[in-house]
């Protein structure tokens, strides 16, 4: 077991495009770290640099206090679970799991002991003599994990291990991985593009965009104090709402009305002109189901509800609005960064299941003004971020430069900055 330190890691491809740009992350011994971001953000590349399958252009990769930049994968003693599992089809499950031990020259009795141990942990006992081709997706996934845990590796690396499974199995395996990691207490780096996996599994989450680390923080910190529009839009499902806003004193003017925000937040956003307000869907509520002492003129607005999706425990109401071109452009760029495609600017409001609002209603919506974030539309920076509770926010030159490169590329050919992973 070992800590992994990444110091100013850069990966530049032949054409000069930095797939990973000046990323510094310390993973403590026994920590579960998630690398998350939309496709092409460099998260897999970073993982492959840790394991040694990809060369490091510059920067230091230190595992267990030892610089490993120039070590071959086999000398780093890490174990990895690949996205497509990469099981050896010509070997039985037993031999697949035993493979790393056999390479290390372990005796037959030791191999047998360790393989049986791993297989009972992963409930693979009855499949040991089968070939991977005859197993289901979930079983293959477990064999791949068995191969990873069978030897005493310094750390586990997972490259989107659940993306090939169906939704139900994915949930089960997610819990299984979390349980396994807690039990074995081994340093783990886990790559995913799924924000649910990132939030549920990680001790800390590193959000990447275009090869640049945006924010490194605990899931709670990311959720409550996103450092910029990108992180705010990426973390949370359904995603955060972004609305054009103007701050005047303590009140914020939104497309539907004006609400009052805490003065310390308002102060930091004074005199900035047009801003983007970020409000999570769950920070809205049907005013009729909120405690009366909370509801006030300053925190409610009226709006016509377009569509309602009722899920039983809650309901999502959609309220379209018009955004000024300045904000709209920024929001469209954000959508592109998030791999999404927004058709219209709309507000998603999460309502209590007891709410009686239906489609076409002119509803009274209450908003929890304390939870509003305000973003600078030109830089995307969160003006109301609580710096002490936001983990690590690197920022700096690299970020802006990557933005420029990315934008230039988008103009030529959208999505061309996504190398095949």
């Amino acid at each position: 077991m070992a800590a992994i330190e990444m110091k100013n890691i850069v990966k530049q491809y032949g054409d000069g495009f930095p797939a990973v740009n000046d990323v510094s992350i310390d993973v403590a011994d026994g920590e579960f770290l998630i690398l998350v971001g939309p496709s092409g953000c460099g998260k897999s590349t970073l993982l492959r640099m840790i394991v040694g399958l990809e060369d490091i252009t510059s920067g230091d990769m230190i595992i267990g206090g030892k610089k490993v930049n120039d070590l071959a994968p086999r000398d780093r003693n890490l174990s990895m679970v690949f996205q497509n599992y990469a099981l050896y089809p010509h070997l039985t499950v037993y031999e697949n799991i035993a493979f790393p031990l056999r390479l290390a020259g372990a005796s037959d009795s030791e191999v047998d002991k360790k393989v049986r141990e791993a297989s009972s942990t992963l409930e693979l006992d009855e499949h040991l003599e089968r070939k991977p081709g005859n197993l289901s997706g979930g079983q293959r996934q477990r064999v791949a994990m068995g191969r990873a845990i069978v030897r005493n590796a310094e750390a586990f690396l997972f490259d989107e291990p659940l993306s090939n499974l169906d939704a139900k199995l994915r949930g089960q395996m997610r819990t299984e991985i979390a349980r396994l990691q807690k039990r074995l207490g081994i340093t783990t780096v886990y790559v995913t593009h799924d924000q649910t996996e990132a939030m549920t599994l990680g001790d800390r989450v590193a959000v990447l965009k275009r090869g640049v680390l945006q924010q490194l923080a605990t899931p709670r910190e990311l959720y409550e104090n996103p450092c910029n529009l990108f992180v705010a839009g990426f973390i949370g499902s359904p995603p955060m709402n972004f609305l054009p806003a103007k701050v005047d004193g303590d009140s914020v003017e939104l497309p539907f009305g004006t609400v009052k925000i805490p003065s310390e937040k308002a102060q930091r956003a004074q005199g900035k002109g047009l801003l983007i307000a970020g409000i999570r869907p769950e920070h809205f509520e049907d005013a009729s189901v909120v405690d009366e002492d909370k509801v006030s003129e300053e925190a409610t607005f009226h709006a016509k509800v377009d569509v309602v999706e009722w899920l039983g425990n809650e309901a999502y109401a959609y309220i379209p609005f018009e955004a000024p071109p300045e904000v709209e452009k920024q929001l469209q760029q954000l959508e592109r960064d998030l791999d999404g495609e927004s058709l219209r600017t709309q507000l998603v409001v999460s309502l209590d299941g007891a709410s009686r609002i239906t489609e076409g209603d002119d509803a009274t919506i209450w908003v929890d003004a304390r939870k509003i974030h305000l973003f600078d539309p030109s830089t995307g920076e969160n003006l109301t971020m609580d710096v002490e509770r936001a983990g690590t926010v690197p920022g700096g030159n690299a970020m802006e430069k990557a933005e420029e490169v990315g934008r230039a590329r988008d103009e030529v050919q959208p999505g061309s900055d996504q190398p095949a992973t």
């Binding site: 994968p73 086999r74 003693n77 690949f82 996205q83 089809p89 010509h90 390479l103 191969r147």
Partner: protein
């Protein structure tokens, strides 16, 4: 409609089978006829008086057994070398990016397209000078060279099918590049290796032009060449029965090999390696 189709398929199937197997049947029947029967010109298909005398005669013929030994030796060694070299070359072509990769591939193709006959003269000249004329290596080298291109193309296609992750997984598991190649890639490419081996073996086994031109005695003459020396006493009346017997014996190993390796050439060995 379905029944009609099935009948049509069977009729076509039987026609093709007859077309292909009739000569083989003819040779087998011929090999059981006595010399007297073939000398008079035999109008009937089945031998009137089946006899094993041709088989005993040919097994007792030291020239033929020696040629058979040469054939086996030369074909097996050429196959082995060709497959080893082709595996290494194909792996490099499939996995590595290097300058002149396309050149290597097109050169290999060019060699395969080059007519063998055109090389007989120069090779004869070279071999007599190097002392390779009428030796095993004298045949093994050209056989290997002519089969390498096909083997390389076949194998590199197989290697390309094997996902990169297999190897990377092996390397992360602690394998050296060589171990990853030997323990993961080669077993996975086994069907390709066997296909290449069989093609090479058949080429070397059946080859005639080089075998007759680059040999002078039974020290290295292979069966196809040796058979052309079965002339008998009367030049206008070759010993058909004996020739047919030799053909049957030469064909047997080929059939056995195909049946043996058929099991190994199973497509879809890689299924289950990755999801899909």
């Amino acid at each position: 409609m379905k029944g009609k189709n099935a009948i049509g398929t069977w009729i076509g199937f039987i026609l093709i089978l007859l077309w292909c197997l009739f000569p083989v049947a003819w040779i087998i029947s011929l090999s059981f006829k006595s010399v007297s029967e073939t000398a008079v010109g035999s109008p009937q298909f089945l031998p009137e008086d089946p006899t094993f005398e041709n088989y005993t005669a040919i097994v007792d013929n030291p020239d033929f057994t020696r040629a058979l030994f040469n054939s086996f030796g030369i074909a097996l060694i050429a196959t082995l070398l060709s497959v080893i070299f082709a595996t290494l070359a194909a792996y490099a072509i499939a996995r590595l990016e290097f300058k002149g990769k396309r050149l290597v591939l097109s050169l290999a193709l060019a060699i395969a397209m080059f007519p063998v006959v055109a090389l007989v003269g120069p090779l004869f000249d070279l071999w007599t000078r190097f002392g390779l004329f009428n030796t095993w290596p004298g045949l093994i080298i050209p056989y290997m060279s002519f089969t390498l291109p096909l083997a390389i193309w076949t194998l590199s296609a197989f290697f390309r099918e094997i996902p990169w992750e297999m190897e990377q997984a092996a390397q992360v598991d602690g394998a050296t590049s060589w171990q990853a190649f030997r323990k993961v890639i080669v077993p996975l490419a086994a069907p390709g290796v066997f296909t290449a081996a069989i093609l090479t073996f058949f080429f070397a086994w059946n080859e005639f032009v080089l075998a007759i031109s680059l040999t002078s005695t039974t020290a290295s003459r292979t069966v196809p060449a040796q058979m052309s020396f079965f002339v008998g006493p009367d030049p206008f009346n070759p010993p058909y029965a004996q020739l047919a017997t030799a053909s049957v014996i030469v064909t047997l190993p080929v059939i056995v090999i195909v049946l043996l390796f058929q099991r190994r050439i199973v497509a879809g060995l890689t299924s289950g390696a990755v999801k899909g």
